[in-house]
């Protein structure tokens, strides 16, 4: 933390502090400029830009299929939902049908990704609060999910698995059982997580009433995902506008009402459990059949002129993609609407006003901000 702009001497002097990108409390290449007086933050300015890689422009120079290995890199933590919306948008523009089984495979895959991503989020949050043990457990359990991805797709972090027309390969033999076993073994640790973290008095004291916003504010500032659901609104794209196989099985949207860091993290916990139950139901309901309708020859693939906006529920909220084709073999314009954008820029700045310096990381991570999503 560096100190600049000394205005007054004594405890009431205003300081400008740079929080990140190199700061222990910061996750990702992101920074916040804080104007503080004592411990209290007067004003916060989020500074994105450290991770700007120009994906949206790069995509205009790659063919439809060549963009697949690219899009997933927008979000390191959870590449899968980005693959999904790109595939959905391309399917919508090119009018490609997806086989029934592929819808189930996609849903299972995306829910696994959600669990993996939430575990990563839990690691970041617990680590930031000083719960190192829980953080290590979360990281270990995320690794088990990555093992499943490796088995299914051949890659651990960037899977490049969902394609237009379905998925890239069917389940390998014995994969279903592996998923069930892994999820059971992670699920077996939920009581331990609860005892050491979620039901821990220290967590309650640290997170309760921190970063509070009203439902009205959440809606106004563009919050989606946990931020909105922790404010009492059961809003989930999987329910509102079902895609893949989310309308084929019964499941609930976990909601809390207090709208503070504590309830946001609890929503994450409940969502993981809900996702695991959903995966079990999907595995049971999954039909046999093909998982891929062949796309046209990639060297001659032109998509009819048109535009599409598609959205899906990523682990942090509404993820949208606006895709325009001018009838060529490459996208004409691509724009992503990522949930971290309102969370990390607008809401974070508002919530940091009048907060304590010690809570900056707490608030930021409870909003589930992932820096690469903001910058792209």
């Amino acid at each position: 933390m560096s100190v600049t702009n000394t205005k007054k001497a004594g405890s009431t002097r205003q300081l400008e502090l740079y929080f990140g990108p190199q700061h222990l409390g910061m996750v990702g290449n992101f920074s916040i400029t804080l104007k503080v007086e004592g411990d209290r933050i007067l004003e916060a300015t989020a500074n994105p830009g450290y991770l700007h890689r120009g994906f949206e422009k790069l995509m205009e120079y790659r063919t439809w299929i060549q963009n697949f290995p690219l899009v997933c890199r927008i979000n390191v933590v959870e590449p899968d939902h980005i693959e999904m919306i790109y595939a959905m948008a391309v399917e919508k523009l090119a009018q490609i049908e997806v086989p029934e089984r592929a819808h189930f495979v996609r849903s299972i895959y995306l829910e696994l990704a959600r669990v993996g991503s939430h575990l990563f989020g839990l690691w970041a949050y617990a680590n930031m609060l000083g719960f190192d043990t829980v953080a290590q457990w979360a990281m270990y359990h995320r690794d088990l999910i990555l093992d499943l991805f490796e088995e299914l797709t051949g890659g651990r972090v960037y899977h490049i698995y969902i394609w237009p027309g379905g998925v890239r390969r069917d389940f390998p033999t014995g994969f279903k059982e592996k998923v069930v076993n892994t999820l059971h073994s992670i699920g077996g640790c939920v009581p331990d997580y609860d005892a050491t973290f979620f039901n821990n008095r220290l967590f309650y004291e640290r997170a309760k009433e921190i970063g509070k916003l009203t439902l009205q504010q959440a809606k106004q500032w563009g919050a989606t995902g946990q931020t909105l659901r922790a404010a009492g609104m059961p809003y989930d794209i999987r329910k509102v506008e079902p895609y893949a196989a989310y309308d084929k099985v019964e499941w609930n949207v976990p909601v809390r009402e207090d709208s503070d860091a504590y309830s946001r993290v609890w929503v994450i916990r409940d969502e993981m459990i809900e996702s695991v139950h959903m995966i079990f139901k999907l595995l049971d309901a999954m039909p046999e059949g093909p998982v891929y309708n062949r796309i046209p020859n990639p060297f001659k693939w032109k998509i009819p002129k048109g535009e599409a906006y598609v959205r899906c529920e990523s682990s942090r909220g509404e993820l949208g993609l606006y895709l325009v084709s001018d009838g060529g073999d490459k996208p004409y314009r691509v724009h992503f609407r990522t949930p971290s954008y309102p969370n990390g820029l607008i809401i974070l700045e508002k919530l940091l006003e009048n907060a304590s310096i010690a809570d900056v990381g707490n608030i930021m991570i409870s909003l589930y901000t992932v820096a690469p999503e903001i910058d792209r």
Binding site: P69, E150, V255
Partner: protein
């Protein structure tokens, strides 16, 4: 599922439950003593089977990171339809997405489960992937392999990861099926068997092309296949026709009877069905009513030079076209009443209708080429006079004399060419009820299938049969697989590996053919020298025999003193230089009398060479 969060403050002591974990085994793997086994589909370093790789370069084309470059390897011997290039990987760029694997037509490129490479020299991060079959030095068995030394030059054998799966490949292995008249229906008449693609079907089929251009190297005339297929895909058949005419002025003929070297070389044929290049060419030729307006040809100023072409077959037509474009006056002599040469008399109507031939010939005539049909050189007009009157002569006389087996009583049998010719351009031959065709080549197939049709026409509701007998066994038959399959579907009986011994005759009528079992067709040197098991005999009943065992050229029209000057190759072909000129000055040659392929597209290739040669010679003077 709304819950009040305030109820769960929890105890400050509950975290002590984590103490239990102190007594559990650690989860961390102690690498390298406990290395983690990568998943079976792991996307690690590349493997490439150099024997299977054709150098098509599709992997380099699809790579989103430009991590793959195709590098020429001079040591590799290439067959037609292969390039001596192999992919070189740059692991500073590769993102292990595996698009290259999913596009690889021969499935030679795969990903392995290795992922270790540590080296001080960054140049080692670019390398040519090989596999254990082609690189024994760097792929080691489990005894020699140590994970501590693992690198791009120390890899485990049999460690295949993410591999190609035809079901998920990025290319379409199946072609758009060509609508055909079913065998039961077509064998009853001379209706054209292949109906032809519709515009939609043609565009769909054209969309399968990967543009690797292996076909263009395999084609004797090196047509710009990739370009004309692309133009079809884009819905511009006129553009496509222009591209075809750059190298081939008879697309309606070639689109039906070409030997399609391109399709055997096609990348897609490695694991799927080749792109239907021939049918796509036919689609273009058929869909454009008037070549002349579509081509917008610009003829150059007349040079005043005169070239005589003897024989209006594919080679003669092509040379006439190419030379006319260059401004020379071309006169074509042919003894037949129309153009096309062997194409006019050989391929049966159900394969190549006369209208298709005339479309190509009329277009060439409309450019100013003078055709003198029904004119036999050596009889109606003398060769020596032509040589005097014209600046150059192109011999494209083809092989017009049917060979005979010369076995006993064979004089009672028919010969293939007169049989085919009569059926196509004169009165159909009266066939027997039980026809034996001697030969196993494409001409024999044509003869047999034509005989069968005539049988059905001449003996309706009677039992008829056509059978072939050939020296070659299954698998050696010189006819193309398509022809054999189609003939079988129509009900032709095959008797491979039998040689004719003598024709059995009773009361001046053919009773059948006595055959002996073939031991081998070729000798150790690969020369044609059949041997037989004299004891194993078979009598084949039949009332008509047609010989279709090959043809020879007829040079009788060339005066003796000139003919003596003409040199021949050891295979008894006319010897020509790199310009297509024979050993007689100003006389060029091409087609079946020059090449060993004996087909239309090679004849066109010869014509291209000779047209250049003639043009060069005429311009020099």
């Amino acid at each position: 599922m709304k819950e009040k969060t305030t109820d769960k403050k929890g105890s400050i002591l509950s975290p002590f439950k984590a103490v239990n974990y102190l007594f559990k085994k650690p989860r961390t793997l102690r690498y390298p003593f406990e290395p983690k086994e990568p998943a079976l589909r792991y996307r690690g370093f590349h493997l490439n089977d150099w024997n299977k790789c054709t150098g098509c370069g599709n992997c380099a084309d699809i790579c989103p990171n430009e991590a793959i470059t195709m590098v020429e390897i001079p040591d590799i011997e290439t067959k037609p339809g292969e390039k001596n290039e192999r992919p070189k990987l740059d692991y500073g760029r590769c993102c292990f997405c595996g698009l290259c694997v999913d596009i690889c037509p021969p499935a030679s490129l795969r990903l392995s489960r290795d992922y270790f490479h540590i080296h001080f020299d960054t140049n080692t991060f670019t390398f040519f992937p090989k596999d254990e079959k082609t690189d024994k030095e760097h792929f080691l068995g489990s005894e020699q392999y140590s994970i501590l030394k693992a690198s791009l030059s120390h890899r485990k054998e049999g460690y295949e990861g993410f591999t190609s799966d035809l079901e998920y490949s990025l290319f379409e292995p199946q072609r758009v099926s060509m609508p055909e008249v079913p065998p039961e229906e077509r064998k009853l008449s001379f209706i054209e068997q292949v109906i032809g693609y519709s515009k939609k079907e043609a565009e769909k089929e054209a969309s399968r092309c990967l543009e690797c251009k292996l076909c263009e190297q395999a084609c004797p005339a090196h047509l710009k296949i990739s370009d004309y297929i692309k133009a079809i895909y884009e819905g511009r058949p006129g553009e496509s026709l222009k591209k075809i005419f750059e190298d081939n002025p008879i697309p309606a003929i070639c689109g039906r009877v070409c030997m399609k070297y391109c399709e055997s070389a096609c990348s897609l044929s490695m694991r799927g069905e080749a792109l239907a290049v021939r049918w796509l060419k036919r689609f273009v030729a058929d869909s454009i009513k008037d070549y002349k307006t579509a081509l917008e040809l610009k003829l150059t100023e007349p040079t005043g030079k005169r070239v005589a072409v003897i024989g209006a077959g594919p080679s003669g037509l092509s040379v006439a076209y190419f030379l006319t474009l260059k401004g020379h006056k071309v006169v074509v002599f042919d003894s037949l009443p129309g153009g096309g040469g062997m194409m006019r008399v050989g391929p049966p109507i159900y394969r190549l209708p006369i209208e298709a031939i005339d479309k190509d010939v009329n277009h060439i005539a409309s450019l100013g080429v003078e055709f003198r049909f029904n004119t036999t050189v050596g009889k109606d007009v003398l060769f020596e006079n032509i040589l005097k009157e014209y600046d150059a002569i192109y011999l494209s006389i083809g092989t017009t004399v049917s060979r005979s087996t010369k076995v006993k009583n064979i004089d009672k049998a028919h010969l293939a060419l007169p049989f085919l010719k009569a059926n196509k351009i004169a009165e159909p031959v009266k066939v027997g009820k039980e026809v034996i065709v001697i030969g196993g080549g494409n001409v024999a197939m044509d003869v047999a299938r034509e005989a069968l049709r005539l049988q059905y026409l001449q003996y309706p509701n009677e039992e008829v049969v056509t059978k072939t007998v050939s020296l070659e066994d299954w698998g050696q038959l010189p006819a193309t697989e398509d022809e054999i399959e189609e003939a079988k579907a129509e009900g032709i009986q095959f008797n491979p590996a039998w040689g004719p011994k003598q024709v059995e005759v009773e009361d001046g009528k053919i009773k059948g053919l006595l055959c002996i079992k073939v031991k081998s067709v070729f000798d150790e040197k690969g020369q044609f020298n059949p041997t037989f098991y004299e004891q194993q005999q078979m009598f084949m009943e039949g009332d008509m025999i047609i010989e279709a065992i090959g043809q020879a050229p007829d040079f009788a029209f060339i005066p003796k003193e000139l003919f003596e000057k003409m040199e021949f190759t050891p295979q008894r072909k006319v010897k020509v230089d790199e310009n297509g000129m024979t050993s007689i000055p100003r006389v060029f040659a091409g087609g079946d009398i020059v090449n060993l392929n004996l087909d239309a597209v090679t004849a066109i290739a010869d014509a291209k060479t000779s047209a250049e040669g003639i043009h060069k010679m005429l311009c020099k003077k």
